[in-house]
Amino acid sequence: MAQKPGSKKDSAMSKKAKPVRSKKSAVIGRPVETVETLRLPAVMQQVAYPIEALAPKVRQQTPAVGQRATRPDCRLHGLGQTKYIDDMSFPGMLYCKIKRAGIASALIKKIDVREAEAMPGVMAIITGKDIPVNSYGPSIKDQPVLADDRVFHAGDGVAAVAAVTEQIALEALDKIRVEYEPLTPIFDPVEAMKDSAPKVHPPSSNIYATKLIKKGDVEKGFRESYRIFEDTFTTQMVEHVPLEPHCSIASWDANGRLTIHSTLGRITLGRTDMARTLQLPISRIRMVATIVGGNFGGKNEITQEPALAVLSKMTGRPVKGTFTRTEEFIATTTRHPIIMHYKTGVSKEGKIIARKVRLVLDGGAYCSWSETTLGKACILSPGPYNIENVHSEAFVVYTNKTMTGAMRGFGAPQVCFAYESQMDEIAHALNIDPLEIRLRNAFHEGSASPTGQVLHSVVVKDSLLQAAERYGWKEAR
């Protein structure tokens, strides 16, 4: 994102700016006019920063809350000058690339790295055996940093290479030979729930967490209902797709203290995970993040960082790892596909009397944030409605697919699609306006949630009416 100096004044300032020497740079130091003619400068052009403190004006004085205050980082974003982790570089830094399994379920018989290790420019290669404690996870510690004896999904890393350039590291990956003994994979979460299904993490059951919310008596509610609606809804697996991929740099100082510069959104938990996987005291680890280029839940836990730290320690050099777009898809968390069965009994007036929900979440190969997602999906599944009788049960199941985890909404967009689609069906079947049926059922101040919590600051009706008014719901037809 090179900035084009617009005015002559800018160009003059750039010329005066002291050129920074960089071995990557071929264009820096040339006259600015020449640089401008290049369509794709390989190195960001040096610009002189305007040194003016952002001193607040009188109108920006208190009160601060409610102001449309501009962000201090927007200037850097606008100038293309925000420094993300991948923009950082340390002297002698090496580049890490990870060999991906490409097979969904298998035993690893042998990993031969000799040919790759012999390549000039390859500084170190590690496998799962080199990670002191090769497992992590926010609740269940079921995820290896690098798969060592078993592959759980096709995106699993099996070896990590540190080399002087990214290209050499990539070439080395092709020379690593891995022998697998394929196992029968399981991809369908409903099939995976059966006792006869192959176990993803033997001897553990494929159903790794469950949740139940019970209120009133649903069967009695169904008996009292005027009509009963039953539907099954399903959703797909999606990726967060942040513009900035996962990136970290590991470096050690002479006191044996580890610094990780990372795109993580949760450095506190990240540091704890690093201490556990590397068997280091927490005080020996520093985690630094900068502005993250999009998270949406996908950067909530460590991924490659322990491998980078081990490679850095072995080589005595800083090691950077940046995921490719493909790795973003195959080796990071995704949104849970959910199979949602809804059974709802209503009165003639469209009042929901009872609702029974069954959710099956496809958890992928590892737990990650599935327990939180399961909890939120289950608790929120009846919708923002006063319902006397609720029974909601949810299961999250291992499959040999990319792991699912935290993603903007934690299961809520999926269940909202189900409960609001069914609400619409009920409205049409009973010939009630879709807005009206929601107003008849919606929570009010002091409503009890499905978990029996008394709710405060409830404005679901206000939001319905405000949106309808803005849209022109009543006038539209």
Binding site: A55, T62, G265, I379, C416, E420, D424, A467
Partner: protein
Amino acid sequence: MKKRGRGIACMWYPIGFTVAANPSAAVVKVNEDGTATLLTGTVETGQGSLTVLGQIVAEELGIATDDVHVVSADTDTTPMDTGAIASRTTYVTGNASRLAAEKAKEILFQVAAPMLGVKPEQLEARDRKIQVKNYPQRSIGIGEVANQAQFVMGQPALGSASFNPPTVALDPATGQGKPFATYVYATQIADVDVDDETGEVEVLRIVAAHDCGTAINPMLVEGQIEGGISMGVGFALQEEMLFDKNGKQLNPNLTNYIMPTSLDMPEIEVDIVKNFDPTGPFGAKGVGEPTAVPTAAAIMNAIYDAVGARVYSLPATPERVLAAIKAARAKKLPKPKRKETQKRIAAH
């Protein structure tokens, strides 16, 4: 033929997460010139959370937003934070930041009270001054008080605090309990055009009315809502990770994994629902995740309204929508737009 339809969906969403405690801590230092520094362990992930936290601290100290510098995301220097997750930053980290600023302010009040000849509880912080309540002419600049605190009283104005949302663990047998401290609510209404010959859906307009308690920064709330809707549109109509029979992904790239671009985005109209949550910092709750929650449901209901076909499986690709239209025709389900259908039949 293109058919127009409208769909409505509302939702509720909790602030913070369940299963474990999710605290945040914060440190506020008032500098010698009356500006302040906030130390927080949260990470700016693009949503503008640091700006919001700065505004909260500024409001508590009676100074301007730009007077607050926020230092974040370094485990060596910043206090513990559960992180930028679960729409919790404004509410949880915001509460911690406000409490830390309040503690620093208490020191300023103790120092200013004898200077103004009143008791500390008679003071307020406003317009970069410590002033006597109802007597704004009796005031001292906050920088002067901070200086006095540091160099004369030997008591630098700084405060630290933490906040953890009060929850009650759910009963494992019944699921009864208080899993979250508070919730937000929202409604979105979508207008779509559906081509009943190809199944293609175009989202034309989305009206979004979101509750976030007090909007600390309405511009950032609008930004969150627009971003959330773009994710919602992708989830509803386009995005899907596909696997082959061996469990390898077929489309792990942006050529074949189709996301909405600016050309796919509908016209978005944002309304912030007026609300105040007494448990949040200055009445604020949060807005991050909920913005992506009701979009898909509103679009699916609009598709039904347009062509009388219900989509049960996301994403609603043209193939799926066309199949749903054919299924609806086969079942001869009652269509909401009967008059129009009859007109079309008559025209044929």
